[in-house]
């Protein structure tokens, strides 16, 4: 473990640590563009220059490994002057179109110019012109004039996805990022190049021109797109609803987690939030009688659900929970099953098509909480429930979110089963062919509208936070189940997600001792 000093402060770091990372550990920022901890060292931007006490001139920190006895100075006059020069070189051909650039507000040219540049511009000659607004693929737009040629995106496609779509073409100040002939940026992780682009060269086609980034709010969350549980940030636009036609979720961004997803997320997860602000959202409870549809208040809907459940014998009732539900919701489902006295509880509905999987992040299981549902004891036989419903043995079914008419089951049989139910209750976020058949429809809050935890395929329990208010009258499922339980006379003390989690942690050995505080921001593994 080399010991060195940086700006006079001693530190010991693991062998192989470069000076940028060593300085970061001391809270010292060495400005840089091309360096990214997840990619190989390029050493091209030349911004991360620092002084070493024995070197005749500044050295790039990214390609210099910490060594025993090294004396590093990140803030000498010579280093400051070098940074100023490098900033000027980066900007002489830059279009300076910040007012119309999506990156403005989170652009490292802006940030570092204010911090390390602040020179008086001297460039009066014509700038080099390059292609603008070039779609590289379904998600990414290139403005080659804004590009500083740090090559992060090229290295990402070479080293992380191994797809190699991008290259740097031409030479000198005519160099530009581009696609190799015949290639499109269609790899499953293409959105990450926008995240790692330090400037406005690569922008997100879904996000661009929607909202200025300084109007965004941020909540820490977990992607619900598959069993990996990638750590993300949910960026929401609440203060300027007119900027994005009412769209509240502006974008999802990866959040670093050393063991789950490092710096990356897949495109499917990144762009899988459209349902949250979709017109198909369920926003109020509904009772359907024949063709007649009645909007209900919760004070009407909850007793209606309780009455319907009371009308049936325990073994006539089944609950079809979902691995898309949070642990807290699933524990509430289990409490409901116990209260009703039914053992007919399941969560596994086979998808119509098998999911893809790769060696990087993407899991075939497209549910965020299959492991949690297993651990919480909900793993019954869903196919048997559907068969018993069709046979008339089950008369009341509560479906949580599943679209059983678009699963791997024969749709005609599933349809017949649903139409034979005397009471069909559906709770979920969005209208579907199942909600259209349900006698009682209960609007559920989407994951970005509530707190909760999910357990990923490795057994890591992770928290997601509330980024938005629920749309309309929607409620988190644990809450609406809790209200039903209370109406049924059960002693329910849990009102918030955290209460439900406390209850399940007290009862289920895999979660023993876990609390929201102990899960923290990095998650916690279930007990084996």
């Amino acid at each position: 473990m080399p010991r060195l000093t940086i700006d006079g402060k001693p530190i010991e770091v693991p062998a192989g640590t470069n000076i940028i990372e060593a300085a970061r550990l001391l809270g010292i920022e060495v400005p840089h563009y091309c360096y990214h901890p997840g990619l190989s060292i390029a050493g091209q931007c030349r911004l991360c220059m620092v002084d070493l006490d024995n070197a005749p001139r500044p050295t790039i920190a990214c390609n210099t490994q910490a060594a025993d006895g090294m004396v590093v100075m990140t803030d000498t006059e010579r280093v400051r002057e070098t940074r100023r020069s490098i900033m000027e070189f980066h900007l002489i051909n830059h279009p300076l179109d910040c007012p119309v650039c999506d990156q403005a507000g989170e652009c490292w040219l802006q940030i570092y110019y204010m911090k390390h540049g602040l020179y008086d511009p001297r460039m009066v000659d014509d700038k080099v012109h390059k292609p603008k607004a070039v779609p590289l693929g379904p998600h990414v737009m290139l403005d080659a004039e804004r590009c500083i040629l740090c090559s992060r995106c090229v290295r990402f496609c070479d080293e992380i996805t191994g797809t190699g779509e991008l290259g740097i073409f031409h030479r000198g100040d005519h160099s530009e990022i581009g696609l190799f002939p015949g290639a499109d940026l269609t790899n499953k992780y293409s959105g990450n190049v926008v995240d790692i682009c330090p400037v406005g060269a690569l922008t997100d086609r879904d996000f661009r021109f929607q909202v200025r980034v300084w109007y965004l709010d941020t909540a820490r969350s977990i992607c619900q797109g598959c069993a990996r549980g990638c750590n993300i940030e949910v960026h929401t636009s609440r203060r300027r609803p007119h900027h994005a036609q009412g769209r509240r979720v502006a974008r999802l961004k990866p959040r670093y987690h050393a063991e789950v997803n490092r710096w990356w997320i897949c495109d499917e997860g990144r762009y899988g939030f459209a349902f949250v602000d979709d017109a198909s959202r369920l926003t109020f409870p509904v009772r359907r009688e024949g063709q007649a549809v009645h909007e209900l208040l919760w004070d009407e809907a909850i007793p209606a659900v309780a009455d319907a459940l009371r009308r049936h014998q325990p073994d006539e009732i089944a609950l079809l929970a979902s691995p898309k539900m949070a642990n807290e919701d699933l524990w509430a489902v289990r409490a409901l099953a116990e209260r009703l006295g039914t053992a007919r509880v399941a969560f596994r509905v086979p998808p119509a098509a098998g999911g893809d999987q790769d060696d990087l992040l993407i899991r075939a299981d497209k549910n965020p909480n299959t492991r949690g549902a297993e651990l919480l004891g909900l793993d019954g036989d869903a196919a048997a429930i559907m068969a018993d419903l069709r046979a008339g043995a089950i008369k009341c079914l509560w479906i949580f979110g599943h679209d059983v008419l678009h699963a791997a089951w024969p749709p005609a049989e599933a349809f017949e089963a649903l139409t034979r139910a005397q009471t069909l209750i559906f709770s979920g976020t969005n209208a579907s062919s199942v909600s259209a058949l349900a006698h009682l429809v209960l609007p559920a809050a989407a994951w970005v509208e509530r707190e909760g935890t999910v357990t990923n395929f490795e057994g890591r329990v992770q928290r997601f936070r509330r980024a938005l208010d629920p749309l309309g009258a929607a409620l988190p499922e644990h809450e609406l189940i809790g209200r039903v339980l209370a109406t049924l006379g059960a002693p329910v003390s849990a009102t918030r997600a955290e209460h439900w989690f406390r209850a399940l942690a007290a009862a289920v050995p895999a979660f023993a001792g876990m609390t929201y505080a102990s899960i923290g921001d990095t998650g916690q593994m279930v007990s084996p």
Partner: protein, 408 residues
Amino acid sequence: MTEKILTRNFGRADSHTLAVYRETGGYKALDKAAAMQPAAIVEEVKKSNLRGLGGAGFPTGMKWSFIPRGHTGPVYLVVNADEGEPGTFKDRYLLERDPHALIEGMIITARAIRSALGFVYIRGEYVEPWRRFSTAVREAYEAGYLGRGFDIVVHRGAGAYICGEETGLISSLEGLKGWPKLKPPFPAIKGAFGAPTIVNNVETLAHVPHIVNRGAEWFASLGTKTQGGTRIYSVSGRVKRPGIYETSVGITLRQLIYDEAGGVAGNGRLKAVVPGGSSAALLSADEIDVTMDVDGLKNVDSMIGSAGVIVFDETVSIPDALVVVARFYAHESCGQCTPCRESTGWIYKMARRIAEGHGRKEDLDTILDVAKRGAGTTICAFYDGAVGPYISYIEKFRGEFEALIPRA
């Protein structure tokens, strides 16, 4: 007059053939080298004071000794025949007129560094040199000099100056874009295809058989205290007899221009000289009493580089010359490092604007400041090479530039 060594056969018919090379003592050094331990060959070359003749002037024997001791995997010998420095055309003559000298030098060098495979990276525009050299390689295989523990692959470049930079050359050889590589690791540790690699210039290796044959002391005695031997100077521009001249590295620039190349052409009056390829700082007419070795030119803040001498008579416009040079560096910058990529283009635009009569009075200082700020901040020496002319052309002939700038 110095004995001609590298160019001794250049006047003979068919000097490029194996027959002529052998008749004149060729391939005799191989037997002697075969009897020497690799370390003894390295030691001999170190003692000879042979320095790299491609541009950087690094001591050749020392470079060879950087191959890690005890390394068991492949080691590659790469010959830099990408002669691209403006004003330099000596390697072309060697490849065309005495290709076997390079092959013999490579075989001996390969023994010294324990390499079984050599690559010769020939500048793409050098068609005839490539043909001649390829024929010579075929002859050497047929005669059994090659193919017995050492092979040569001939590779043609595609026309980029930066591929003459040793790590840019390696990238290009590997099939990548010709971008110089970060150092460390240096090529001798991790070079072509990840293996320890020695990159040497054509002329450097052509000297090796002679050093083995006649000894390090003999070679060292031909030159100066810090650099042994002769070298081939390419002399062009406004001289009466442009061409290549092999002399001791102890010759002065004045002797080279007036005694060898016949004196100044044009209007006959010397204005300035580029002493070592376009990247070398310009010398004014009163700075030519310097020895043409590595240290001689370092002492006047220029460099011998590739020994390409370009002579300007008084009719040459220095601002126009700077435009030509600046255009070259802007065109050839690989674009990898920001300072070089951006400022070569910027300086070219400013230099052109001044030459066209649209300069502003602050432009000259801006060019000087930009050049100095970028110097030493990049991966390779390309930009430092560009800075040499930017600064020296303006500082030594500032009045000529100022005369072109309109008064406000």
